[in-house]
Symmetry: none
Amino acid sequence: MTEQKARPLRKDAARNRALLVQAAREVFAERGLEASLDDVAHHAGVGVGTAYRHFANKYELARAIFAEAIDEVLELAERSAAAKKPWDGIVAFLEGVAEMQTTDRGLREVLMGVHDAEQMEQVSERLSAPLQQLVERGKRAGALRPDVESTDLGIVLIMLCTVADVTGDAAPDLWRRYLPMLLDGLRADRRGSVPSVPPVPDDVLRKAMKSHKERLFRAAR
Amino acid sequence: MTEQKARPLRKDAARNRALLVQAAREVFAERGLEASLDDVAHHAGVGVGTAYRHFANKYELARAIFAEAIDEVLELAERSAAAKKPWDGIVAFLEGVAEMQTTDRGLREVLMGVHDAEQMEQVSERLSAPLQQLVERGKRAGALRPDVESTDLGIVLIMLCTVADVTGDAAPDLWRRYLPMLLDGLRADRRGSVPSVPPVPDDVLRKAMKSHKERLFRAAR
Amino acid sequence: MTEQKARPLRKDAARNRALLVQAAREVFAERGLEASLDDVAHHAGVGVGTAYRHFANKYELARAIFAEAIDEVLELAERSAAAKKPWDGIVAFLEGVAEMQTTDRGLREVLMGVHDAEQMEQVSERLSAPLQQLVERGKRAGALRPDVESTDLGIVLIMLCTVADVTGDAAPDLWRRYLPMLLDGLRADRRGSVPSVPPVPDDVLRKAMKSHKERLFRAAR
Amino acid sequence: MTEQKARPLRKDAARNRALLVQAAREVFAERGLEASLDDVAHHAGVGVGTAYRHFANKYELARAIFAEAIDEVLELAERSAAAKKPWDGIVAFLEGVAEMQTTDRGLREVLMGVHDAEQMEQVSERLSAPLQQLVERGKRAGALRPDVESTDLGIVLIMLCTVADVTGDAAPDLWRRYLPMLLDGLRADRRGSVPSVPPVPDDVLRKAMKSHKERLFRAAR
DNA sequence: TATGAATGAGAGTTCATTCAT
DNA sequence: AATGAATGAACTCTCATTCAT
């Protein structure tokens, strides 16, 4: 007497959807978004048509992967924002995301790689709250320099992930060499030379990334 | 000191080659490496055939751009390595390359974006000497932490450029906010927490980047 | 010996069949036979599978619509053949069918548009008898020129419907301008110039139309 | 010493273009516009790419055929408008176009078949002048009923061509049976029953046909 | 040598039809 | 019996690369 949930995907459909997302992660990770949907589909062991039943087009699939990835990051952000010692939360967050990247090539690809504007918006929106909390707590605890903004955290993360991304499997832990360096830049008790450039307002930054990704992405014709 | 590439090409051929590289910079800058060679050729005012006379394929053209870009970087590296105060040389180098990226989207594309492995090798090889000098001098002058390697400079540069690249035209100077932060990490008199992870030997790093770029690049079928 | 369609379908099956035909009329009317069966099925509120239970393929469904349409035409033909004044019957028939076309785009589509050969055969066969009667009575009453054949009626109808079809919703009554003109051509007391070309035997014409429609139709691969 | 016209198409390109148009005429005639460009191209003995070099898409190709066809019709219309006896001109025109259709299936297909709105506009525009002259002269000569409009000529032509189209190769001359009938409807000295429906203004008719064809055509997305 | 026409593999996408649920 | 997920062939269009002019 399996309680049939009326709405959500038939069992086989759900399985295929998952297979597709998994395959896409792998294939995109290896060959980038330039890989064809045909390849992804066959990698997943299904026909192309099936891929199109689940995702309107290739980029919707990419978005789906992305969304999953962001879920993980979001969860970590929230956990970090609730850390006992604020500073530890910040470290945990940066370290954690960088670790994720190193472990999961698919994640790395979608987080750093070529993706689209709308998705970028979403990230900012979804991550914005926990990141702000992370920063607020850090400042109140006197651990974080007062002129640090939540967006700085994002940028630092990007820098860190770039290292993880660039060194890839060949030197998967090299980013750890640069994490302390970056943390030092955020710390309240740091030596001196304050960054004189003000941070960019959240929305401007968002737009910036948006246009950046747009160029890389040119979504659909 | 570049000893002229032997047979100096007929004057018009040389001109066409230059036109093509210039056009490619512009077109690739605007639409990425995905732009078609036809477009590049017409932008240069020549036929596609001519493009193929000068470059075996599209990626050879990209390489040519890259080589030019590297020339500029190399020149700056050499100038910086000869700076009166070693520390200033380091700052000048990092600042200079970041500035280049911000100014020239084409350069940004080829330096950070999608390009190929062989090229990467070349960069490392050509930049390796001046960067080592830069670092050596910095250490000897007591400005640079003793455990900094020349490859660290490359990584820092990459991090910085990532910022410039990501924020793009919308916040073209944001990277300046993070330059001091990164410099702090390299400085001899910094607060504390030494990066415990050793740097990666030059050749390993080179290979790492190589494989990274390979994934991004998938050099023609 | 096919006595009556035998097993009259379960009530709900019959209902689904009717829903499908109705939906097909509407959808085909709006978007032509190119509309997908999926769309038709959902428009009818059933799954595609159900559509295939009732109709072997898309064109069988079109045929079913067609059959219904022909039923209407047939009925009108029979009524017209029984008109008190034979001439009025002829006018009524031509006018009536043209009116149907104007009113129901779906009908127009299947009658004039893209359909198949077998269906065409059926039409001829089913309509042949009443049309012959219509013509016979007209001639006997001295209203119709003696060299008019029942097939002429079909051709005239086609000409008229072409007008209705071509002008469509924008000038839905324009065909009325040409009805008198065409009637004049059939009338016994017309001015002169007898058509010198003999009509074509029924079966030849049938075959002609058949091949015509075949070209237009390309019945599935 | 063939006077090489600088601009226009290289010899081989011109030949291929012609081959394509010819092939398209044949293929479209046989299987309608639903035939794939691949088929047309291979029928012409060239690659698909070549087809796309010459015509932006399938419908541009159809348009090209159409334009050629219209050229022929236009020429006839002009010749007919200049006939010594106006009435003969009218007969010649209707007869001529019907004959063209019978002879050239490709022409038939494009003229009567599925084509697009813009093209329809063009036809009206290009044919409008000679048809008006044809009608004017006919009326002045007392041969044509005074309430006949140039658009009536178009409609009559369509009716005639429909016959030629429908009967196709099987009864290629059947339309001749109906030409006198239709001519009678236009003649000044005809028996009586004047069409009471006024003709439709040129532009309304044009729009009507336009929307009609649009439905049939749904030109590319 | 320069040109641009030709080629054809391959990408994204749709849809008729089948079949597991 | 009904459903809708899966399939894959087919279609349109692009573009790197070759080759006739």
